[in-house]
Symmetry: C2
Subunit: 462 residues, 2 copies
């Protein structure tokens, strides 16, 4: 479904949408430009207009008009996607969900919340203040809940609390016909029919547009302890993680930052003052006694692998500073090469293959002669390179793309996936056949059945 031809009916759709939406439709230059790109290395494409629905019914009416005129619709949250998911490659309407930003319900006794798709993850956690509950999925960006569901996002505490797949109970979705359906329920489990909720999660808006989400909440642990420790080699750090996971230690966060990344961190935030060696950043959740027990077990494993500089804190301020530093890793990495932009990889492999995958990746970085700090949610087998590129150096971009391709090939050869949490969009589409084989045409069959006109986010994923 590549290279959708630009339809000639977009103008007719725009006329009808203008009559319907009035000032909820914009064709202003800066608005169009803002909706032409995300944070990926893709060529921007302007939409013909940006619609700002405020209700599910707005979305349904917009989709009906677009369906009538074969006009593409591309859902847009806050533009933080990393694989070009929101680039309107065939023009048409960018559907900006930011005005659907209500936290509709917080059901404390059921540990769930109902939100509109334009709610940001931090906004939901702000709304949860005082309840003793938390929403756990935390990608780097302060993304929208709709976007996070659509890319099956995860983050630093997935190893304990799961991805969006494990944290969405129910959805409201507008189909390509404009019909509104509800999938799932607030019951914690069900065997009642096809799992439509998970069909839309990770579908990047190609099968329907999410207009409401019911998500799981988790109780805040009594005790939270954050810790860092240094290792002589990346292998030592990774093997520590593998052993800790295999022992069943219920780590809440376990993040690897390699020596290159640590150098960037020190340039970016000298007050951190951590040794420029591979590090694990950790978080332990539980009761006071439970956390103490976990830490002791973890330290014994880490020390077997030559860990040093173990530092920890249960103070919120110190913990927040540590995790803010981790979340700023992308910008910290860029400090290694001022003016550079980053090309981000995202592979994920079975944990037993992680050490080999990272070792082979580091050899490729070396051979490419590039600077590429490595950070990873290694408890899940997922890691990212931030390949630093001088935007004015075309050959460097080429080498970076070749490096990224090699990393993806290594991951696939080890039984992994080319995207652990960033999704497919435009950037990873070329790997879909290699990763999925006969399942990829099956995905395309589903897409054609559900959206025969191909109006929903055309050119992405399938």
């Amino acid at each position: 479904m590549n290279d959708m031809p630009r339809t000639t009916n977009i103008d007719a759709a725009l006329d009808a949408l203008r009559a319907l939406l009035e000032d909820k439709l914009s064709t202003g230059t800066s608005i169009l430009d803002q909706h032409s790109h995300d944070e990926a290395y893709t060529t921007p494409v302007l939409p013909d207009a940006v619609a700002f629905p405020e209700t599910t019914e707005d979305v349904a009416q917009i989709v009906r008009i677009c369906a009538e005129h074969d006009c593409p619709i591309v859902p847009y949250g806050f533009g933080t996607s990393l694989e070009g998911q929101i680039v309107p490659v065939s023009g048409g309407i960018s559907l900006d969900m930011s005005r659907m930003e209500r936290v509709i319900a917080i059901n404390e006794s059921d540990l769930d919340a109902v939100v509109q798709p334009g709610v940001r993850r931090t906004q939901l956690n702000d709304a949860l203040r005082g309840t003793g509950l938390m929403f756990t999925v935390d990608p780097g960006a302060d993304a929208s809940m709709g976007g996070m569901a659509s890319t099956r996002a995860s983050g630093t505490n997935t190893v304990r609390y799961g991805t969006m797949r494990e944290n969405v109970l129910a959805l409201e979705v507008v189909l390509a016909t404009g019909e509104v359906i509800r999938t799932g329920s607030r019951a914690r489990k069900s065997s009642s029919g096809y799992d439509l909720t998970n069909l839309f999660i990770g579908a990047e808006g190609t099968l329907g547009i999410i207009t409401e989400l019911t998500v799981k909440l988790h109780g805040q642990p009594d005790t939270i302890l954050s810790a860092t420790c240094a290792f002589e080699t990346v292998d030592d750090a990774v093997n520590t993680v593998i052993l800790a996971i295999q022992m069943g230690l219920p780590l809440a966060r376990i993040e690897l930052l390699d020596d290159v990344q640590m150098k960037g961190m020190n340039l970016f935030k000298p007050e951190l003052g951590l040794p420029e060696k591979p590090h694990l950043f950790l978080e332990f959740h539980g009761s006071e006694a439970g956390v103490a027990e976990q830490v002791e077990l973890f330290q014994s494993v880490a020390e077997e692998h030559g860990a040093s500089d173990f530092a920890s804190s249960t103070k919120m301020e110190e913990r927040n500073a540590l995790w803010a530093a981790r979340h700023e890793a992308y910008y910290a990495g860029r400090a290694l090469k001022p003016g550079a932009k980053g090309l981000i990889t995202d592979c994920c492999v079975p944990i037993s293959a992680l050490a080999e995958c990272i070792a082979r990746t580091r050899i490729e970085i070396e051979e490419a002669g590039l600077v590429a700090p490595l950070v990873g949610h290694v408890g899940d087998g997922n890691f990212h390179l931030n390949i630093l590129i001088d935007p004015d150096d075309a050959s460097e971009l080429d080498r970076a793309k070749t490096l990224a391709a090699k990393v993806n090939e290594i991951a696939l050869s080890l039984g992994g996936t080319v995207t652990g949490e960033h999704g497919v969009g435009l950037g990873k589409k070329k790997y879909m056949s290699a990763e999925h084989g006969g399942s990829y045409p099956f995905m395309q069959l589903l897409k054609r059945s559900v959206d025969p006109k191909g109006i929903l986010n055309p050119g992405k994923l399938v």
Copy 2:
């Protein structure tokens, strides 16, 4: 897709299958009879033949022949389903997967295992002996892994370890065309395209036939403590559960047995000698200190709700006896009415609605004048009635069906589902529109797209 007409091409399919399969195809009377029914209250229907594939390629060839002749195929595990899922209502081939019974791989370091669909859940756990790992999903029956995936089964420890949805990483599936696809991978998470794995889980063989599963394993906890305690009322027991869940206690099992069920237990197994009051059966997993801490917290909550007779054990023998008794609840219930058969309900509601749902259900039982012991995975909001019926009393069966219908209506009115873990099959199909609204035609659209000839388990679910 009700009332599929019986095709006239079945004989042609049988001829071709006989040539292909030789003695792996049976038309023996007792074999046909065995494959005509499961454990549900549905009218048995004989298949025209039973095929016993031994490899994925066998399955693929059988499906290709059936597709050519529009011949129905109904996958069959061990016949333990509870909603008529394996009844060949349109005749055709019953596809008995019991010879595909190999545990293909146990990947200790990745905490996963690869199995064929005919592997039983206890067989997998036997194979895991000595590894320190366990497969957790435990429906009442010793079902096949393929069947458990196909009905999205769960069990007594779902509250901690999840259903089949959370425990299957990857599948091999034969599509309606005979094509073999692989979904997912052994990586712990992925954002790579549509979640096909979860599309086939719970689809009851209507979208494809599962020929291999990669499932998650969990580390065996250091300490396991089983416990029971009695309450004066079901409400007290349920409210204890609700509070414990809301406090985030990581209970591994928390099962309710009402006073009627306890009476049956005592008749069935007098050596248990538990008071005939509503009970919770519990299991705590963790480190020694962690379990002690959980038990203490739980007891304080239970005592606030008037709990008594708290008994516990960490000895494997005593624990096993307790959980064997719980797993025999169905037979124990029947001891209340010798000669009776049981009609089982399976609703699941948000936990905050559980007390009301059970209270209203018990009023309906009273009004129906029936004996219906209640057991439940109450940590998930899921409970079952075992409505006891004299098989020779038609009016009693009618009243039981009316009662079951009322329970389902109550669950739906409280935002729940008519099936927490048994699936849809024939028995729950009539509730699908009420539960899913516009999502149900969408499921039917998917079915038609994927299996346009309707050969895969026709008449079920959609």
